[in-house]
Symmetry: C2
Subunit: 508 residues, 2 copies
Amino acid sequence: MAIQLKLFLLLWTSAVAVTSAAQSSTRPNIIFFLVDDLGWNDLSLPISGQVTANNKKYHTPHIEQLAREGIIFREAYMTPVCTPTRVSLITGVNAARHRVTNWTSPRKDHNTDAEDEQFSPAAWNINGFSPEPGIPRSFYGTPLPQVLRDNGYFTIHIGKAHWGPRGTAAASPHNVGFIVNVAGHAAGHPQSYLPEEEYGNMPGKGSFQSVPDLEPYYQTDVFLTDALTKEALKAIDYPVSQDQPFFLNLGHYAVHTPIMGDKKYLQPYLDRGLDSVEARYASLVEGVDKSVGDILAYLKQKNIHKNTVFIFASDNGGLSLTPPRGGTAHTHNLPLNVGKGSVYEGGVRVPLIVKYDGVAKQGAVSKNYVLAEDIFPTLLEIAGIRDGKVIQQIDGKSFVPALRDTALADPERVLVWHYPNKWRSPDGPGINYHSALRRGKWKLIYNQRNGKAYLYDLQRDIGETNDLSAKNPGLTKELTRLLGQKLAEYGALMPVDKKTGRQLAYPE
Amino acid sequence: MAIQLKLFLLLWTSAVAVTSAAQSSTRPNIIFFLVDDLGWNDLSLPISGQVTANNKKYHTPHIEQLAREGIIFREAYMTPVCTPTRVSLITGVNAARHRVTNWTSPRKDHNTDAEDEQFSPAAWNINGFSPEPGIPRSFYGTPLPQVLRDNGYFTIHIGKAHWGPRGTAAASPHNVGFIVNVAGHAAGHPQSYLPEEEYGNMPGKGSFQSVPDLEPYYQTDVFLTDALTKEALKAIDYPVSQDQPFFLNLGHYAVHTPIMGDKKYLQPYLDRGLDSVEARYASLVEGVDKSVGDILAYLKQKNIHKNTVFIFASDNGGLSLTPPRGGTAHTHNLPLNVGKGSVYEGGVRVPLIVKYDGVAKQGAVSKNYVLAEDIFPTLLEIAGIRDGKVIQQIDGKSFVPALRDTALADPERVLVWHYPNKWRSPDGPGINYHSALRRGKWKLIYNQRNGKAYLYDLQRDIGETNDLSAKNPGLTKELTRLLGQKLAEYGALMPVDKKTGRQLAYPE
């Protein structure tokens, strides 16, 4: 296998290239802080604008601080599951186009789609992203960290990667443009968060999910989240000492399953009456919050906080299946409906907070939409890279203008989600074989199994409980057609009907 | 555990600081290419000056090429086993002083000394090297790569590390001054060289020796040695693109056990009549040679070969126990006696070749002694670092003058080896509880078990088969006393007598 990054490059000419934003003389550092499976609302910060039950449950004072110092994007979206989001993040491409529509296995050529009676798996890119051409069933593109590195950034990956399986280049962040990698590989979750379990590396117990590179912390008291924070700060030290701008991609394994308690934070949640699973989950969330706090403190200590953009996000909605979660299924993200895996808001809406001193107004809230694929052009614009050469067509749009002008929004932008896969059995609301479209206040949910479409007014019904499709057949039809058009533009795959052996037609 | 590198620094004022070597305007890149357990003579290059049986057995054309382009140090020495050498290499300190006198376990606080009837283990530094103070039973010092990094070098570690156990900072090369690390950790050998065995990372089969960070190569046809070479060249690419001098520390896992065959090279050795173990061993050696060739080719391709110092060495003598080796024990390094673990020449004399265009005369041979601890001041001198701040006292001596003047030697330099440990049962010649001293042509072997001393004339008897102590009692006594003095100067540990509970006295 040739690990080569010699790409045939096309000039990239998206929105960023023509943006005429003033460039600062010193390029800012960029921290992209990605939490895994954190729900939109799993914060003490009232991100929805109103205090919810979740906001009272969780304790995230540092994320509150971050929001006071930055902008909350209230309508930020990712895809329903992990790998599609992560591939969109580093390529700027919508999942319907890059076709890595489901999570990837650590095993090469392994289709993670669950067995289904009605459909055969679509020919989606089961081998994830690839920085080199010729890997079957992968999406070949120029990754964001490579562009940043090639333009003078010192690029660091810490934590969860999950861009491609073992046996492919993208299993190593070093092949995705990162100079430094600690703990990133093919797996999508940790075998263990616990140093006493050596993060899954106990002899004889190794698995796909054994977290690499953290041997110094074995048998100490350093929880995985803290180990990653320490490694991140240590890695930053070098470019800071060199006065070189850095890009830190910190992908926490938290708060993904296994939902292990962080004992430093656990007891108060138990005392407040949370069941043992939910208390453990809340302790994972608080651990992530501590990581935010530690990094903010480091930036201040090094006096680089004014020149470091800090972007906080989650990769999909909060998990809401029971088990592994406690409580009642599909309710963990209330007021949003459902959770991870679903195209309902609970599965795709995520917290997004951006601190960018001198550019982003502090304590503001933006209604500008953000999609996973927007991160790519946004970061290039922040880095002042206008002639980034990438081979893929970029679907995303920089949201830097919305940082400068919080009143800015693009209410007519059409947002599309597409999931022609089976995450798991049984189906749940919006889970498995669904697409969705948002235009303004209207959200269309499209069930690929039967072609049925549901219509919600997000302005009045953020919980998507009141289907208005029967009352608005014309609009439902229009948006369904628009969804079909968009999917056709993206060249999206549809599930294959077992009876006919053919892909379904696009919605119309 | 605090991973902190805030050290109380003393100004380092050894030989290097006062050397007045002319500095080149562009600092050279440095590649330190360390093979594991390669015998002095396990090359097709006639390193002894005469063609031996081993030279006819092995096939290492690229190492021959390297020798044509550089200098052979015929009398280069390391310690009898792995970790003591590696700690000396990165600290510049003799093993008798740093007290990491045996190989370290991947397990913290684990003494690897074999059980012995006569002696209790000495209080040696079973936790290896430490870049931070306060780790019990570790040697705290400023590591070479940190000094290089702090002085502008881009530092890369690839392959075997083995400086300290899991649960201590030195288990990660990132804590030893390396910016990039691939595949280095606490372990001293690989579980497997084979991509089909995922270098020891098959689910359920994880061990201390599972090689980390190489997931892209799993289930391909890339043998471990080749994977490390590819990673090394990929890592070099970045500093080369930045015109930043680099230090590459490439520690091959080869040719350490498990002696697995590299099928690309195996058949010819079988055809020539080598037994299956020895053929596999020879194939590992040839794989290392290929790595040398690939790197030399890369350097030429990038046009940096003239400004890159290439140092080829082994960390101790060739393994000569049967099993795991084929053939007859203690004969694999002939004409040298014994092998790894012994203070006889077969255990400590190693191949050392240095290519340094414009400085080192091509195709020359030097009789200048080199010890493991000499690498530290040598590399600092090559890097032009005169005011390196290190906390430890440096025992080594730069051999840069010997590169410039191949006639140079220091025949009266006293060399000391000290091994107050039990490597394994049973004892072998010079194996377990031995010290040794060389002065000029004379080599003294001192058995700590009984205080007996043996004397050899290396000029006439490189094989150390003819003990001259009875014929030269005065010299034997003098050198024994000198050995005792040297050990006292180093503050060396002696084994503890089980009967008295006390350390043995130094030789006298």
